[in-house]
Amino acid sequence: MTTSLRIFFIGGLTAYRGLINWLSPWIFIPSLVVTPIFQILLFVYIGRAAGVGSDEFFVIGNAIQYASIPCIFSMTHAIAGERFQQTLAYLLVSPAGRLPIFLGRGLPVIVSAMFVAAFSLLVAGLIMRIDVPVSAWPAIGLVICVAAFACTGLGLITAAIGLRVRETAVLNNIIFGLLLIFTGANVPLEQMPGWMEAIGNSVPLTHAIEAARDLANGGSLGDVSRLLATEFLIGVAYTVVGYWALLFMEHESRKGASIQIA
């Protein structure tokens, strides 16, 4: 048990620090600090030009949606990056449990995603002077935490795919783009065709974004508990599928002797 916990916490953090080159300030600041602010500004101004939504609607939607960048990119690289470093085979022949190895890498990812979403929300909120009650911030923090967890579950799935495909950057960007459309970050789901709404309701972040908007508009944690529970369950479902997919890909790569093939 102690060993598994060590692998989960210490191993996860070590792998994260070793594999995620985005932690370099030359990448972190432009990609995860500056860009989300500009994405928010872009959609706030498009919203003003189109005459739809409020500034608050776009600030909250895009700040939480941008958490998907660390969730998907970092999670993928925290696992698939082993292949590019030629260390995956050593990792997989070790007797360590797969659960702490894979899920332990998700914890620092969740923390970084929470930072990105919270920082973007705070700074863009100050720039656009949106009015979010101070009392709502702790609850919004919880929503961001659940959103980051749920999206990291999706990141586990992309990490599993990353064990087989070369172009993980392309894949991750596509996932990000789809989340931009389907999570309702900028367009209310009810404005979309039924099939898009159905997809939107089954992906991470959608319910978290709605919950955060409700909280900012004066709702209580109790009012959004259903949304929060749905987001959490979606996260659990994606995490289970992601973990299963990782085990499946490992099994397949052993069978095909293709573990290190990148």
Binding site: W26, L42, I46, A49, A50, A169, N173, N186
Partner: protein, 256 residues
């Protein structure tokens, strides 16, 4: 003549190479479509058909910048990874003549994005642009393409000393979309942002394209676009000389 041939062959080589890269071509085409989709939904929700047409043209041009910003930013780093940077710098041709085609090739990939976005807007959202002056429109697109390519060249040399230049290229994507008025009229932006937009050739290119599509006279805007593009090239050559001199003096070209 030799110079033109070098630029032509460099463009052809880089363009073919980028077309084979799923990141530089497939994703570059797809990426602006995600934003265009959201923007089209928003403008349709707003209920103003003219605004939707405005967004349709802007979203199409956005792709040219998308294709250029990241690819040009990482152009030198890519040559470092290939192990060809030192060889290219040591070649008898001026290094800027090797870099300029990279910027132009990235912008040409943007042409695919433009066509795809226009078709997507037409098919998925029923946006009918109705271009009034096709010849002027073609000139405006060409001028925009060349000037964005020139800006890509300037970015490529300006970020030569940074290992992670792609991130600096990528960070310029949203600000340029915003400040150049691709989707949002400049009148919506704060006053201090306007002088910045005047210094960016895509602003004038976008205006020229819109003007040609509406049947107005886009020539003044095309002239500004080309003039700024020429300034970027001149500035890029100066920066190239400075960067190479410093890299040679400090033996830091490889950044190892």
């Amino acid at each position: 003549m030799k110079t033109l041939r070098l630029i032509w062959m460099g463009w052809l080589f880089q363009f073919k190479q980028m077309r084979r890269s799923s990141f530089d071509s497939f994703l570059a085409i797809l990426w602006p479509l995600f934003f265009a989709t959201v923007a089209f939904f928003m403008f349709r929700q707003g209920g103003d058909p003219d605004a939707l047409i405005y967004a349709g043209l802007g979203a199409a041009v956005m792709g040219i910048w998308t294709a250029t910003s990241v690819a040009a930013g990482s152009a030198l780093q890519r040559e470092r990874w290939y192990g060809t940077l030192e060889i290219l710098v040591a070649a008898p041709a001026h290094f800027s003549l090797i870099l300029l085609p990279i910027g132009l090739a990235t912008a040409t990939i943007g042409l695919y994005c433009m066509v795809t976005t226009l078709l997507f807007g037409r098919i998925a959202f029923g946006i009918e642009l109705g271009i009034q002056d096709p010849a002027a429109f073609a000139f405006a697109v060409l001028a925009t393409l060349l000037s964005i390519g020139a800006l890509g060249f300037l970015i490529a040399v300006a970020f030569a000393r940074y290992r992670n230049a792609w991130a600096l290229g990528a960070v310029s994507e949203y600000p340029v979309w915003l400040v150049c008025g691709f989707l949002v009229p400049l009148s919506f932006l704060p006053d201090w942002a306007r002088p910045i937009s005047w210094l960016l050739a895509p602003t004038w290119g976008m205006r020229a394209i819109r003007s040609a599509a509406d049947g107005g006279s886009p020539w003044a805007e095309i002239g500004m676009c080309v003039l700024l593009g020429a300034c970027y090239v001149a500035l890029g050559v100066l920066v190239t000389n400075r960067v190479l001199r410093a890299a040679r003096a400090r033996a830091s070209l490889a950044l190892t």
